[in-house]
């Protein structure tokens, strides 16, 4: 069974962390993953840096630019992750824009992910329709999950369609915005979380974009299976370093 499904089976509220590989320092990838696992994080999204991350807010843009400046490449990241499954047992997801994956070669990329032990991908600029038509076969061939986003503006019929062909989880974008930390979630967001919960989808949902602290994590996970923290974690990491990660995780739950 895919590690992502196993994790959701445990039936608790998940905490997933996103970071940009190669930031703050090029060789931080493995230490960050180990420290996150030791801190009790349930799942990690490793960001593959891109020069033009158009769905991301300033924090992830900057960490991505910094990672590229540090010398991060797709090849380099795969090298760092080569033996990652010796110590890391939680699900690992690669999150990146489609162009670097295309240039690496889509099948070659999937093959590499499988051999390393990556469980799934999130590719924000590969829409479900194009994925379904052109790329699903190769992802399936290498047992890779590909997770999709929904937003407060995604029409209900489309949510049902996404649910029907999803595996792993559905990534619920908390509000109509690019990535970035928010201090609180308001009634509009809570109503949206409730609305999705009431749809009783067959794929579990986790909320991302905007979760920054214990409060936003709690509100977000009240109606779904978990939450993803990106920008707030990256800011913390930049300021406090890898060794301080357990402190951040404790502050969330």
């Amino acid at each position: 069974m895919n590690r992502i499904d196993q994790t959701f089976k445990k039936n608790k509220k998940l905490l997933s962390i996103y970071f940009s590989a190669g930031h703050p320092e090029l060789e931080d990838t493995v230490p960050i993953l180990e420290t996150l696992q030791d801190s009790g994080v349930d799942m990690v999204e490793i960001g593959l840096p891109f020069s033009d991350p158009l769905a991301d807010g300033p924090t992830i843009q900057e960490s991505s630019t910094c990672a590229l400046r540090n010398g991060m490449t797709t090849e380099k990241l795969f090298d760092q992750l080569e033996n990652i499954r010796e110590n890391i047992h939680i699900p690992l997801i690669l999150m990146g824009y489609f162009n670097p994956i295309m240039q690496y070669g889509i099948e070659r990329f999937c093959q590499k992910c499988q051999s390393i032990g990556i469980d799934g991908l999130i590719i924000p600029d590969l829409p479900i329709d194009l994925y379904h038509e052109y790329h699903k076969e190769v992802f399936d061939k290498y047992n890779l999950y590909n997770m999709f986003l929904i937003t407060p503006h995604t029409p209900e019929a489309r949510i049902n369609f996404i649910d029907s062909i999803s595996n792993g989880f559905i990534y619920m974008v908390s509000s109509a915005s690019v990535t970035g930390a928010q201090k609180t979630f308001g009634k509009i967001q809570e109503d949206y979380f409730k609305r999705i919960a009431n749809m009783k989808l067959s794929t579990p949902q986790i909320v991302g974009f905007g979760i920054s602290n214990a409060n936003t994590y709690q509100v977000a996970t009240k109606y779904c299976s978990g939450g993803i923290i990106g920008s707030a974690f990256i800011k913390f990491l930049e300021k406090n370093g890898v060794a301080a990660i357990p402190k951040f995780i404790k502050s969330i739950r």
């Binding site: 891109f50 020069s51 033009d52 991350p53 158009l54 769905a55 991301d56 807010g57 300033p58 843009q61 900057e62 630019t65 590229l68 490449t73 797709t74 090849e75 824009y97 489609f98 162009n99 670097p100 994956i101 295309m102 240039q103 690496y104 924000p124 600029d125 590969l126 829409p127 479900i128 194009l130 999709f148 986003l149 929904i150 937003t151 503006h153 995604t154 029409p155 489309r158 974008v173 109509a176 915005s177 690019v178």
Partner: protein
């Protein structure tokens, strides 16, 4: 072969809409409505009326006698430089502002490099009384002060894009992010035949007035509906798409696309995307783009800011790949020289972008009985500082 977009926005293997889910409702709304709206009688009536009375169309198809004599062929200039605001860009912004109004949008955003599309957008927003925010790279804001002033005078807010390389591609990223953050009341007026479907097709349709007029004007002047060659400069490719549009399927018309070689194709400072680019995704479209082996988008270079884009519209990528069009790249120096040549032989100071196209006359043979139409896409007022520096005119 087909050279127009199919119903999913693909030109052969290029195009499509590679967009994050957050943009889906905006793009889908546009995709479902753009053809129906733009072909409706009421839209066409208003569009044509504004093109005539506000933009100053039809623009002349001018027979360039001195040039024709020197190069021993028949050379016509489609005078888009005479459009209101100084370039063809306004054809598209008029079309899109009317589209935005019909979709009940209250706020307009746009990206701009040199500022021409920003000015054309600010102009139509002033005309229609809509709020206008223009994203411009912070480096470009410094380099193009007069156009920044024009946009402000027209009532637009100019926001600096400070991410990445701080130029056109980053301004485009910022505009896309703004649209993600404002999905309901905002329309994004993209300035070229780039971006996710339906933009390349929609912008090409609005610019196709250029080739429609050319057909009618040639019939009158040459008693034929099509020329032997159509020639235009290509950055993103909107003026070229407009000039080629009605001739795409007519294989008797040779299509020539002129890219900016910058300091030379192999100098590391070039914008010749067809030569240096590889298939990939930029700003939501699958096309040819300049990038590293690792798939990071690289910064192009050209002396003309309007050609300084790392990608090219998917229509043009398809014209290149299918060999329907001839692609030629022209370095800065030759383009600048042609700025002066056209000024002194025909009394027309062209934009530096436009000047690139004319340099084809020196690198390719044309015959006496051939009819050539150049898109004289913009005027050179905005480039005076660059011309002054280059030719030491002070």
């Amino acid at each position: 072969m087909k050279y127009q977009a199919d119903n999913k926005g693909f030109y052969g293997e290029f195009g499509g809409a590679y967009i994050p889910e957050m943009l889906y409702p905006n793009i889908e709304e546009l995709r479902q409505n753009y053809i129906q709206i733009s072909e409706s009688d009421s839209f066409q009536k208003e569009f044509q009326s504004l093109l005539t009375n506000y933009v100053g169309r039809p623009t002349p198809l001018y027979f360039a006698e001195s040039l024709s004599e020197k190069y021993n062929t028949k050379i016509y200039l489609k005078r888009e430089d005479l459009c209101h605001t100084g370039a063809h860009k306004v054809n598209n912004t008029i079309g899109q502002i009317l589209m935005a109004k019909r979709l009940n949008k209250k706020r307009i955003i746009a990206e701009t490099g040199a500022g021409q599309h920003g000015v054309a957008t600010a102009t139509v927003c002033a005309l229609m009384g809509l709020e206008c925010v223009i994203y411009m790279g912070s480096l470009d804001i410094q380099r193009q002060a007069p156009n920044v002033a024009r946009m402000k005078m027209l009532g637009a807010e100019v926001k600096a894009a400070k991410s990445g390389s701080k130029t056109l591609k980053d301004a485009t990223n910022e505009a896309i992010r703004d649209w993600i953050n404002n999905p309901v009341d905002t329309h994004y007026i993209i300035g070229s035949v780039v971006g996710p479907h339906p933009y390349p097709d929609m912008v090409a349709r609005f610019q196709s007035v250029i080739s429609a007029e050319t057909q009618a004007q040639l019939l009158e002047k040459e008693n034929r509906e099509y020329p032997d060659h159509v020639i235009a400069c290509v950055g993103g490719g909107s003026n070229a798409a407009g000039l080629y549009y009605h001739f795409l399927e007519n294989l008797q018309v040779n299509i020539i696309a002129v890219e900016a070689a910058g300091k030379g194709i192999n100098s590391g400072a070039s914008a010749a995307t067809s030569v240096l680019g590889k298939e990939g995704i930029i700003h939501g479209s699958k096309t040819l783009l300049m990038q590293t082996l690792d798939g990071q988008i690289t910064e192009p270079y050209s002396i003309s800011a309007g050609l300084d884009y790392p990608g090219v519209g998917p229509m043009h990528a398809h014209l290149f790949r299918s060999k329907r069009a001839e692609f030629i790249s022209i370095p800065d120096q030759e383009a600048m020289d042609w700025g002066l040549t056209l000024s002194q032989m025909e009394g027309i100071i062209p934009a530096i972008e436009t000047a690139h196209a004319f340099a084809v006359l020196d690198v390719r043979k044309f015959y006496p009985d051939e009819v050539i139409v150049f898109n004289c896409s913009g005027r050179g007022d905005k480039d005076l500082d660059t011309y002054i520096d280059h030719f030491k005119l002070k």
